[in-house]
Amino acid sequence: MEKTLNRIHPVSDPEATYFLQVSWEKDLGTGFVIMLSDGQCAWTGTVSEAEISREAADMEMDREKYVEELKKALILGEESAGKYNFAISRGEESTECHFSYEKNMKDVSFRLGSLRLQKVSRPVEVVKELIGHCLDRLGRLQAENEHLQKENERLFSDWNDVEKRLEKCVKAKEELEADLYNRFVLVLNEKKAKIRNLQKLLKEAKESAADAPYTR
């Protein structure tokens, strides 16, 4: 069971605050339950899957698109963005309450839906449930945030370690290169010294052979 709670302000009395709780199973398009409360009284009503289809058909709107609009209006709390309006009119005996929601366009508003809500006999239970639900959600979010915070610290620490290892690897590569070249130079120069010596000996041997007849 999914549930959301938002604050709304009816167009007829923008100073007044109502709390709108919407509950549904899996997908809002299969129907939903509305619980409306002013903190003292509470009213409830249901919108069925068939009613949703009927509303969409009446508006000549694609059903999926209509459900998206319902989500934005009733669940995502976009009232504050000025995109949706709510109207609440309580009957004389206040056993019923008419609740409607509309979408604001540039110069026009069009009704998204409306329903009659029945007064709840024990509103205090509704209020407790609203606050309780909030506290439960707060608790879960708090725990999730703490978990994410720890994860982030761990990831940062891991990243830091790997960065250090990378720096070491880069340095080790540079040192290896320098070290190998130094060794190669030493070994090669040893061989070159040997070659110079052999060339000198060869030259001497050749000169000695050339001089031999004259010496004898």
Binding site: V185, A193, Q199
Partner: protein, 39 residues
């Protein structure tokens, strides 16, 4: 020409490193880099 070719063949190996003149790190790096070009 053949004389120049013979002279360089006496003085330098097939990778361009001198047989007799001592090398250093910079020169050896250059020899190695040429080897990469010749692969």
């Amino acid at each position: 020409c053949p004389d120049t070719k013979e002279h360089f063949a006496r003085e330098y190996d097939s990778y361009g490193d001198s047989y007799t003149a001592d090398t250093d790190v910079a020169q050896l790096k250059e020899v190695f880099s040429r080897m990469k070009d010749n692969s």
